[in-house]
């Protein structure tokens, strides 16, 4: 038992370069900022929703009535400002937790009108984890304000592992939900086929765009069995991604394809995993960066640029 605990500890608290965690902060923070800006009109559209539809949940249960317009706009603006500071790594100990809580608030408030979307959960969880980790020990901009470089440390490893664990856990919950509600019969394809049809109908009837591909596939009933089995397997087998970079690559590609399938069949975008940012914690991103930098520098040197010692 003790050997198992020690083995887990050496995995969970594994020494990792501080650059990896910092690059995850940069990538996920930049994604969050771009997402907030791109979805600004939707996130702020809540100011025009009828108060009778207000259905507080999560953190928003702290209030009983909808916020006044100026509060909605003000909190959104504050989220953008702190998000920029979070991404750059400046004043991280203060700005990171503030940004994480503001992001949680803005996203939860958007869901507090009866419709709970499931596209933003992982992003918010990742930002919360990063905010309470030493993710600004490298790649702080402007550079003059960053800490001095140091050796690999378990302090930077646990947070990366935690990001992976939370990702895997959310997919497992989604898979188990299908088994709880429908059982293994979900893999047979009937539920997915009905869902694809239902999703298209509600969009058509509400005068919106729907995926033409989903309804086109509906007469081919047999196709939904492999699609369902693949989806369920991807969700339930998510823990294999914790067993090393190779298996993580296999699972991340499968999960990404699963989201591509959802987009193609139902025009429902899960932008965070589709962008690839949700899967970054599984990979040695600092090595990717150094390879990219070397490739970028290589041709310049060959062309007569300065050569170091």
């Amino acid at each position: 038992m003790r050997a198992l605990a020690r083995r887990f500890d050496s995995w969970f608290y594994a020494p990792m370069p501080r650059e990896r965690l910092a690059l995850l902060r940069l990538g996920i923070g930049a994604y969050a900022l771009i997402y907030l800006l791109g979805r600004a009109s939707h996130l702020n559209a809540v100011v025009d929703y009828p108060a009778s539809s207000f259905a507080p949940l999560g953190l928003v249960r702290l209030i009983q009535e909808p916020l006044a317009k100026h509060w909605v706009y003000g909190l959104f603006a504050a989220t953008l400002v702190t998000g920029a500071l979070f991404t750059s790594g400046l004043f991280y100990r203060v700005t990171a937790p503030v940004f994480a809580l503001l992001l949680l608030w803005v996203m939860t408030y958007r869901h507090a009108w009866g419709m709970i979307f499931h596209t933003d959960n992982l992003l918010v969880l990742h930002v919360l984890l990063l905010a309470f980790s030493p993710a600004a020990d490298a790649h702080v901009y402007p550079r003059s304000r960053g800490p001095a470089p140091g050796p690999e440390d378990g302090r930077h490893g646990w947070a990366v592992r935690a990001l992976c664990l939370v990702t895997v856990a959310s997919y497992v919950v989604a898979g188990v939900a299908k088994l709880t509600h429908t059982g293994w019969a979900w893999a047979a394809g009937g539920a997915l086929r009905e869902q694809v049809a239902y999703d298209a109908i509600r969009k058509i009837e509400l005068g919106s765009l729907h995926s033409p591909f989903g309804p086109w596939l509906l007469p081919h009933e047999w196709l939904f069995t492999p699609l369902s089995a693949f989806s369920l397997a991807t969700e339930l087998l998510a823990p294999i991604a914790l067993l090393g970079v190779r298996l993580a690559t296999v699972w991340c590609v499968a999960a990404w394809l699963f989201h591509v399938g959802v987009l193609a069949l139902m025009a429902i975008a899960f932008p965070y995993p589709l962008s690839g940012c949700a899967f970054l914690p599984f990979f040695p991103v600092e090595r990717w960066l150094s390879v990219a930098v070397q490739r970028f520098k290589g041709p310049r040197r060959a062309a007569g640029g300065p050569v170091g010692p």
């Binding site: 559209a45 709970i116 646990w158 299908k178 049809a197 109908i201 009837e205 005068g207």
Partner: protein
Amino acid sequence: MRCTEGARRLLAYGIGLGATAVVLSPLLSGAADSFPLSTYPMFARPRGQPILYALVATARDGSERRVPAALVASGEVLQTKVLIQRSVENGPLAMQALCEATAAKVAAMAGGDTPSFVDVVRRRYDPIGYFTTGPTPIEQERLFRCPVPGVFTPGSKAPR
């Protein structure tokens, strides 16, 4: 204040494993779907023959057009769907408010062929049949009707 290595490690375990346990907790607690902790119920159940509430713009001759989600509430179609459903659940006054607000926008948007009414309708569909045999609902009911402002509609005062 400086943390010892042991305290630092304990904190890391608390946050890392605590966050994972919290994400997994809906499996055991049976809690309702929430945010950011979710039971991810979106594709989990067979849909059967679902009921949909919608707003349609109806001309005097009975022909109808769908009212885009953006005119009802927002460009987010799923949010709009829930807002319509909640208005229906909240009764005639809520339906009237939504119907009249939408009718005003329809009047402002429409060109020469402005519809006469906006109807709140409840329809049940066979989802597969919708695409394989035709889009006719299995059953339907008009729950509320309101006139489009500026359009002459005899008898349009009657709400139903």
